[in-house]
Symmetry: C2
Subunit: 465 residues, 2 copies
């Protein structure tokens, strides 16, 4: 018997073929209904503007709105349409998707379209725009099921079916009281399997988690993630439900937050994407570089203080870059670990101390290992290639080795303490720590290395180049 092998997914290519096949309308509509909105969105980008404009009426405005929500950037596709049609599509979108699309548009078009939205969409969009970009309210959707707490199971079920036509997020049903305040939540599963004469009250979880609309995304995203729910309600100060955060919003927010931190670790002030303008990118990268330039000048002047050592034993300067790079790398390792730990958990003072001690221990163990390697290998190199006598060579490489261990222990400490300090004074540690750590580590490494060289090689032992 032949084993049937799972067919590959070529949905986007299939869709383009179907759309271009010249099938009768009815059949085309039927075939398209089989595919996922995301795949149709991808297929749209492969069509010509004319093909797209012919397709939209067949699909219907509701589904076009859902498909447009999957486009990476829907703005150019909306622009191909008369502004009335664009407004109709945006009206049908989930409020958070509509806001995303509108934000991509130029101010004039945006205002025109907002003015043409239907009443409900317009209210929702204005609500979302009223929040700052870093507030959780700006990420929520107003598409959810809400019922009163005094219904029977049967009434609740009927209400659900009625609202489900308009709203996609049905897996949690939000319950409000007589004053329209958030009262609790019902898991759809519990409602479906409930016996008819159960009291609705018994299904309601009264201490259901929620977030407040003005909370900062960065502050509450970890907490939301921990609940691992399909959705979490966003409440206004008066206790009414403004919207919900769905698990898709959570995926996006986690991805964004991590992307931001990733960018910051690399010395960008914010994340960049492929289509970013040159001037935008320059603006995101220049601030840190300027700070680094001035800090680098400070380091340079400290190096300048050791000119005399280099004048006597020029070979010493060959290993400066080695020691600085190693110290910098170790500091970045400690920084990355510390930032992730600080992001995930609230640490007690004792835990913080333990983390610093542990980082220093790691720095010492790694430093010892690398210091000994450097001592031996560089000693051989200085002796064989540069022609120094072996005992002088081992003295020079010994300075490198000791400087490595010392610099690595101190870098580990600095890489842990500086982000903790910034976190303490409420400055984002991922942004602020990088340049400062580099500079402190450079200074420490230079002072230790040239200091050792001055003490042991020049003053005590009178080694010369």
């Amino acid at each position: 018997m032949e084993t049937e092998v799972l067919k590959e997914q070529h949905y986007v290519e299939e869709l383009v073929d179907i759309i271009r096949s010249g099938l009768p309308k009815e059949e085309l509509i039927d075939r398209l209904s089989d595919y996922h909105d995301n795949d149709i969105a991808d297929a749209l980008t492969k069509l010509t503007p004319d093909e797209r404009r012919e397709l939209y009426p067949l699909i219907g405005v509701e589904r076009v709105a859902e498909i447009f929500a999957y486009l990476d950037d829907a703005e150019p596709y909306l622009k191909e349409l008369p502004i009335e049609s664009a407004a109709k599509i945006v009206s049908e979108m989930d409020s958070d998707d509509a806001v995303d699309v509108l934000e991509e548009m130029d101010a004039t078009t945006k205002h025109k379209i907002v003015g043409m939205l239907d009443k409900e969409a317009s209210e929702d969009v204005r609500l979302l725009f009223s929040y700052d970009e870093d507030e959780i309210g700006s990420r929520m959707t107003t598409n959810f099921i809400m019922i009163h707490n005094n219904l029977t199971i049967r009434q609740a079920m009927r209400e659900l079916i009625e609202q489900a036509g308009e709203n996609d997020n049905i897996s949690t049903i939000y319950v409000i009281d007589d004053e329209d305040k958030f009262y609790g939540a019902i898991d759809l599963k519990d409602l479906i399997i409930a016996r008819e004469y159960t009291d609705l009250e018994d299904l309601i979880s009264h201490s259901y988690p929620y977030v407040k609309d003005h909370e900062k995304v960065a502050d509450c995203i970890e907490q939301i993630k921990d609940y691992a729910e399909d959705s979490i309600p966003v409440l206004q100060e008066d206790g009414t439900i403004a919207g919900i955060i769905t698990s898709q919003d959570i995926v996006e927010a986690v991805d964004d937050e991590m992307g931001e931190d990733y960018a910051k670790l690399a010395g960008l002030t914010a994340e960049e994407d492929l289509n970013e303008k040159l001037t935008e990118s320059v603006k995101k990268r220049l601030p840190w570089l300027v700070i680094l330039l001035f800090l680098g000048m400070v380091v340079s002047s400290v190096v300048g203080a050791f000119e005399s050592v280099v004048a006597v034993i020029p070979i010493v300067m060959c290993f400066q870059s080695l020691i600085l790079d190693m110290a910098g790398n170790v500091g970045t390792q400690s920084l990355a670990v510390t930032i992730r730990v600080l992001m995930d958990e609230e640490l007690t003072a004792k835990q913080k101390l333990m983390l610093v001690v542990k980082e220093m221990k790691i720095g010492f163990v790694n430093g010892l290992f690398l210091g000994v390697m450097a001592w031996l290998f560089l000693g051989i190199y200085i002796c064989v290639i540069k022609g120094y006598p072996i005992h002088h060579a081992l003295l020079v490489s010994g300075c490198v080795g000791i400087a490595l261990v010392t610099a690595m222990v101190i870098s580990s400490m600095v890489g842990t303490l500086i982000p903790m300090f910034f976190k303490k004074i409420n400055v984002d540690p991922a942004v602020a720590s990088g340049p400062l750590i580099t500079t402190v580590n450079d200074l420490v490494a230079i002072v230790v290395y040239y200091g050792l060289a001055m003490l042991f090689l020049v003053d005590l032992l009178h080694v010369t180049g």
Copy 2:
């Protein structure tokens, strides 16, 4: 009128108080049912082992299993219990959560517990363990609703209600054919609002996205994320459904992938957490440091070739660290942007070329800005503090400025090309790029800087220190 202010969420403290209140059993059980499993999990960690052991029988093994899935590390709490009870709890957990817990245990306990699981749980756990950690199959849950394609709407609904008792993930219903192969998916919403005599076939989406069980998580997570679904099926090679990936799994996977990349960017071979053992941490950090040490030695020997320049004009060496740090930082910025872009999208050759050109342009614009700043400020510094004549000072700082521009343009190019190259040969660019980029940039910066100094200052103009 007084505005009622939203009460703060102190669920964990409330729970601890309730549990310690000595309420009658019935009431205690009723109160607990109001709270979220995640909050009860947090409360558990604040109790004494005796309090916990008294609490479990009241909550019931099914809910204890759900609560344990929310613990960061459930292993110590399972260890407090007789092994039979631990096995019962693990049996009730979702398969992916059960596997997570089992993986934290020592091999002996793990084997004992796996041997004591009930039949279904034991099969599921063995299936999940059969996948590599980086395969999507290892992340799936076997907790989902599956129906045959030949049912009526009423039959499908009855089947759903029956299966919903055992399975939490009900928002998508998976449909299989006569041969038990994946046939399509139904959105629960569509089933709920469907009229009784609709054909079930009309609700089924036949070209529903799926992943294959042996696909690498890193390869398919972006695609899964794009579909923004509550769950995606995981198929075996023969077309049967092995399990599903829920949006909670997606959040976790995205978080993990980003965390790994973040760690790799910082020169760790994998992510670390707070409770990692010293030896584990050393092992994760040492590989890159050793590679960097040897690459650093190569750089050192190149610096050695320019000893003669430094012997003549020692002040030149003061600015080496400045140029290397700037080149390194610019290279890391380009690296971070390139890795994120490569992760998110498949680029055409043209797009890749455009990215390289754009990065070089950014490097040039930033370099020009910083180069001019360095030229002026360092010129003043060398003249005023070091007492050089102004035209010599501006020549030396001019070399620094030109070296900065050149090094930054080349670093941008290197920082973009190297990750692209590693991606091309299927090596993880986030791991491999860091040390190589640092070294190439160091070498370029040193050759350009000391080369310029040798040419302009020593050979042509005979500047001396």
